[in-house]
């Protein structure tokens, strides 16, 4: 047992709570006026908002021009919440005198966000860089059916996709570019 008298644990506990109360009420020290809104850990949503990290999985955006309706994302989705319908059309040949190419034309590309797990498998498996994550999260609806985002709405989310960040030192990964 230590020889000098210890402060009883209960009093130390009281001190911790009082100190936290003081730090919350006077974040700039006792000489300035109290401002608990800055000292507290609370972010008063919706008056103030915290910016999520750039990689945060908020919503999935679709670049329609890049999508070839290969169905990989719809297949890999654990919830099967991506609905794709496409038809084949003939596109003009790439060079003079060539054959017309058959391409897929997207009719329907819907993501049902009431089912989506936000796992990111669809974004990862897309071989044509058509799907991107965006940190937007304020898209809650009053009706569940409005959570089915259609092709045009997914294309609008592309504006909110941030650029990919640089990597830490020692990384060999290359920073990808977001098609704008």
């Amino acid at each position: 047992m230590p020889s000098k008298p210890k402060v009883p644990g209960v009093l130390k506990g009281l001190g911790v709570t009082l100190r936290t109360a003081k730090e919350t009420m006077f974040p700039d020290g006792m000489l300035r006026p109290p401002s608990p809104s800055r000292g507290a850990a609370t972010v008063q949503y919706p008056h103030e908002k915290e910016a999520p990290a750039p990689r945060a999985r908020g919503v999935i955006a679709l670049k329609i021009e890049n999508c070839t309706a290969c169905m990989l994302c719809a297949r890999e989705c654990p919830d099967w919440c991506i609905y794709i319908e496409a038809h084949k059309t003939l596109a003009p040949p790439r060079r003079e005198g060539g054959k017309p190419r058959s391409v897929n034309d997207l009719d329907r590309f819907d993501i049902d966000y009431s089912l989506c797990m936000y796992c990111g498998i669809c974004v990862e498996v897309c071989p044509f860089d058509a799907l991107f994550w965006s940190p937007e999260y304020e898209y809650s609806e009053v009706r569940i059916q409005d959570l089915l985002h259609e092709k045009e709405r997914l294309d609008q989310w592309m504006d909110t996709v941030p650029d990919f960040e640089a990597y830490e030192a020692g990384s060999e990964a290359k920073v990808k570019k977001v098609p704008r």
């Binding site: 644990g9 506990g13 709570t17 990689r55 945060a56 654990p78 830490e168 020692g170 990384s171 060999e172």
Partner: protein
């Protein structure tokens, strides 16, 4: 004078019967108390049927299964990437730790060796999930005992760790970051710097909890000598993790059977406590959080450079075979037994979760204990329902 009608007679008998029912139900000798499945102390939907004599427990039986989601059946029809996503949600507080043993087992079957940078970053996130999980435990134990302030500190300081996880993986709670052959992505610039600051905050939180909760005489009176588990009983019931180490069993899979993580290259300590009571379990976990911060600091200082993903085919078909990998998860020993028949999906995944075994000791442990001590013991054993029921 009016005659008593039949209706009045029936009403009188019914009232007496209701009284008798209430009397029987509220009789204090041999009262059966149902704790849960909806109860703030059971960390989810655990139901404990306790037979009481006054305030003492005569017998107690845990009934799990209210949260069974059929994980092992689900994995039979999901590809390995999809299983990784699902498996995040077993122990949802330290969710990256759930992915690790599964991915390690799959890597064993495929014969893929992840690059060293991936192994180190995997270990960093493994430890961060441990911190996130155990910080919540430290605050939660306070709440179960009546101190409602530590849990707010716990959530406040846990946010920093979750923010760090979000910056890399995109998800705070469900990172879904481990892949067969490495990791999904590399660390963004500035992350390691911020990590050091976050670890400092975690350490100051641990000091605060020590002052507020651990040192409090009331806390010590509530937890010392309560729910003592001797070491041999702990081993018989298959306790693992901090529960076993708090009973004096010096066993930590990170040191004794490390598969696929970077622990052999680091300098760290395994914490044990000889008492085996609730106080010991709390103390061991507090020290584990502090140890995790030093481990992460060492890891951040020495991450080898290189690629973060080995060469694996696009469509992953794991060759035939069986693999068992278990790791020292925040809750205890978690293991996956993966049987593959060479398909896109595993044939069978058996999940050995730590909390299932940790809870199995409750009938033995809760005999002769007071009702408030049930709560203390359950809080100190620390199980997550998703882990018990899967």
């Amino acid at each position: 004078m009016t005659a008593i009608t039949d209706r009045q007679k029936l009403q009188y008998i019914a009232a007496k019967a209701a009284d008798a029912r209430v009397n029987v139900e509220l009789e204090t000798e041999g009262m059966t108390l149902n704790i849960g499945p909806q109860h703030p102390a059971t960390h989810g939907t655990l139901r404990i049927v306790a037979r009481l004599d006054g305030e003492q427990v005569v017998a107690a039986e845990p009934m799990a299964g209210y949260m069974h989601r059929g994980y092992e059946k689900l994995t039979e029809v999901r590809t390995y990437a999809q299983v990784t996503t699902l498996v995040n949600r077993i122990d949802w507080l330290g969710s990256f730790a759930n992915e690790v043993p599964f991915i390690l087992a799959a890597e064993q079957l495929m014969g893929v060796e992840p690059p060293p940078r991936a192994t180190w970053i995997r270990t960093i996130f493994f430890e961060m999930s441990r911190i996130a999980n155990l910080i919540l435990f430290l605050g939660d134990m306070g709440v179960q005992l009546g101190a409602i302030t530590p849990v707010f500190f716990a959530f406040r300081d846990r946010e920093f760790v979750l923010d760090q996880i979000e910056r890399v993986t995109g998800g705070r709670f469900h990172p879904n970051f481990d892949r067969i052959g490495g990791l999904k992505d590399d660390l963004p610039k500035g992350w390691i710097e911020d990590n050091k600051r976050t670890m400092d905050k975690v350490r100051s939180f641990c000091d605060e909890i020590e002052d507020l909760l651990l040192g409090s005489e009331i806390f010590q009176e509530r937890t010392r000598g309560i729910g003592v588990i001797p070491a041999d009983v702990a081993m018989q019931y298959g306790l693992s993790g901090a529960n076993a180490r708090a009973s004096g069993i010096d066993w930590d899979l990170r040191r004794d059977n490390c598969i696929g993580l970077a622990y052999p290259d680091l300098d760290w300590k395994v914490w044990t406590h000889p008492d085996g009571d609730s106080f010991a379990r709390f103390w061991v976990r507090l020290q584990e959080v502090r140890e995790a911060t030093t481990i992460i600091d060492q890891l951040c200082d020495g991450i080898p450079s290189g690629p973060v993903m080995a060469k694996v085919p696009r469509i992953i078909k794991v060759p035939e075979g069986e693999a068992w990998v278990s790791t020292e998860n925040p809750l205890g020993e978690m293991g996956y037994y993966v049987i593959s028949k060479g398909d896109l999906t595993p044939f069978r995944v058996k999940i050995r979760s730590a909390s299932f075994n940790n809870v199995s000791i409750t009938p033995w442990l809760l005999r002769g204990v007071y009702v408030p001590d049930i709560i203390t013991i359950l809080a100190s054993l620390y199980f997550i329902l998703g882990d018990i029921d899967r």
